[in-house]
Subunit: 343 residues, 2 copies
């Protein structure tokens, strides 16, 4: 009953230690500690390298981990550079890094720059490159590194788009280890009381597998931008003043014309492009006629349980495709086919 | 299993008709239709009146509903005025408004102004007033009107704080019936592709009732700002790159020092101050020692099932108080005490 799904991008590798974010001295000390790890982004694209063994157990791409000595002080202080504190490792990994003096857990930072950092860096790995554009390479990380990217990419994307105060248009200053931006204008309303304008943005999205009233079919749709033959769950942004369950009903009806009754939460997934939180639900249809919203959806169809089993489990010559296992849409379908049949 | 909780602020009275938002002609026609209802805000405070019967079935305050003829064209077009389209009534209410010609459902708009609208309005109800500050008056609306306020207040609060483009600092223009703001600067990156900067913000928050490993106690805390004697569920903003369940674990440990294992979603509630989505969960504690984060929490304690029953159900001379039924914290506690005992 309380079983929890771990989706790709969900893994929390760090203790985020938010209580240390206001402590500039502590952060500065950590930034120059030899044990600290930096990950690097150039225009929001992470520095990675191909991992030696590229099979499913060892995914194809890994983050480059830099240490304080290879991150130039000049680069750290440039105006186009943003540094954020990610946290400290929850458990000391036994092999990946040597234990440090005080036996304190290793701190991690992420750095984004708009100036080619190759000019400032001494890279140990000559095969490293900036992953650009992030998809689908971003889905080739290990589970742990996907969790790190989920946090780092979304906070950095926020800095990249929210450098001006939305309340008065002034410039803002990065504070609290990268989790706050404060308006430079002393008279700005954003400096009185607490409001969301100073904090990173997370956009809640519903993503739903809608089940036919007969219990044996599910509703999948295609956006125009999908690769040919691919179908996925319907999804949409939760609007202000709306509950999760109502957003599921509204978006399903908008996109497919199908009316939905009961809705059940299954699991969620941070989606760092740029900073969504996908809230995955099962939903029961109360009607079956399909009429797609042609602005967003090219086609929506009912698929039988057997058809999705063929794609998800067997994968041999399927009549259509679905997103890969790293996408919560895939996991929702898998959850549904596992609910009432034994595979 | 698929039972759904309806919390205060959750009721969806309208079909939001998002497909009509880009249709300026349609919106303008609706704005001057005699059947249309306007609700009015002055500096984000809604115009209300005391309802005649003030008992629990008929709560104490109701929204003033204005028609197109009493909303001055001048007021509609002032620079400090924002008008948003709320939607059309889902079902024709049989009594509240006379049926209109084409039998089209009644459209609703919300208007916020920074200039005292009493100068521009002919008010039919002389006992109307602007509800200021919104709490706790906002909790005295009917369920239906609370749903309307949830939508209207949060979209209007967004306009009030986000009138400048966060990407370049330029002014922005209201579009799509009040659900989009577009940067005036033609060269701005916010005008290429789709990003969240142009859309209303919703902040997902976790709120959790943490259950003691013995199953018979729950963890409640007090913020310094709470009324004396009041305790509530712990809560906190979901951070970028974080799943709901991990946010529950992180915030509980930050605020109380208690470690949490399994987490189960129960229900959610839009909280329009300014625009949060409270995601309510039950969580099972894996440790019991309490160490509060003194910046945020004044005190946290384990309360027995009987103690919370005394407050929530009996209410006679309780040793402490809890938020009222309109708050999801109250409903989470009620859900827990209802789960395994028959009241
Ligand atoms: N926070 C947001 N970020 C990006 N697009 C949004 C957002 N909120 C609303 N939209 C709009 O929603 C469309 C996607 O539709 P949907 O995902 O079905 O809600 C986008 O093309 C935008 O027009
Ligand atoms: N979106 C947001 N809106 C308001 N405050 C935020 C937000 N995100 C983080 N915070 C910070 O979180 C504090 C409240 O703590 P909590 O609700 O426990 O996360 C506020 O005082 C702010 O410093
Ligand atoms: Mg969609
Ligand atoms: Mg939408
Ligand atoms: Mg949609
Ligand atoms: Mg917090
Ligand atoms: Mg809190
Ligand atoms: Mg907190
Ligand atoms: Zn400002
Ligand atoms: Zn701009």
């Amino acid at each position: 009953r309380m079983e929890e799904h771990e989706n790709y991008f969900n893994r929390e590798v760090f203790n985020r230690m938010s209580e240390k974010r206001p402590d500039r001295k502590w952060l500065e000390a950590k930034q120059s500690s030899p044990d600290t790890v930096f990950i690097l982004f150039f225009n929001l694209n992470p520095l990675v390298s191909a991992s030696e063994e590229s099979n499913t157990a060892h995914p194809g791409i890994k983050l480059c981990r830099l240490d304080a000595s290879s991150v130039n002080k000049e680069l750290l202080q440039k105006s186009g550079t943003t540094v954020i504190f990610l946290g400290v490792e929850k458990q000391r990994s036994s092999s990946s890094s040597p234990p440090n003096e005080g036996n304190e857990p290793t701190a991690w930072f992420a750095l984004n720059t708009d100036d080619n950092p190759m000019n400032h860096l001494q890279l140990t790995n000559p095969n490293s490159f900036f992953l650009k554009p992030p998809m689908p390479g971003l889905l080739k990380l290990s589970e742990a590194e996907a969790g790190i990217i989920a946090q780092a990419s979304s906070v950095l994307a926020w800095h990249n788009r929210y450098s001006f105060c939305p309340t008065c248009g002034s410039n803002t200053n990065v504070e609290e280890g990268g989790y706050k931006r404060t308006c430079f204008n002393k008279d700005c309303r954003s400096r009185q009381g607490i409001h969301n304008t100073c904090y990173p943005r997370v956009d809640p999205v519903v993503i739903m597998l809608v089940i036919h009233p007969d219990g044996n079919q599910c509703l999948l749709g295609r956006k125009k931008t999908f690769p040919a033959g691919m179908f996925s769950c319907l999804a949409g942004f939760i609007e202000p003043g709306e509950a999760i369950e109502d957003a599921v009903r509204r978006e399903t009806e908008e996109e497919s014309g199908v009316k939905v009754g009961p809705v059940q939460y299954v699991s969620c997934q941070p989606w760092p492009m740029p900073s969504s939180l996908m809230i995955g639900c099962l939903a029961v249809a109360m009607s079956t006629d399909i009429k797609v919203d042609e602005k967003e959806i090219e086609e929506a169809r009912w698929f039988t349980r057997q058809q999705v089993i063929d794609v998800i489990v067997k994968g041999t010559k399927p009549a259509f495709t679905m997103p890969p296992r790293q996408a919560i849409a895939h996991q929702l379908v898998k959850h549904w086919i596992g609910m009432s049949s034994n595979l």
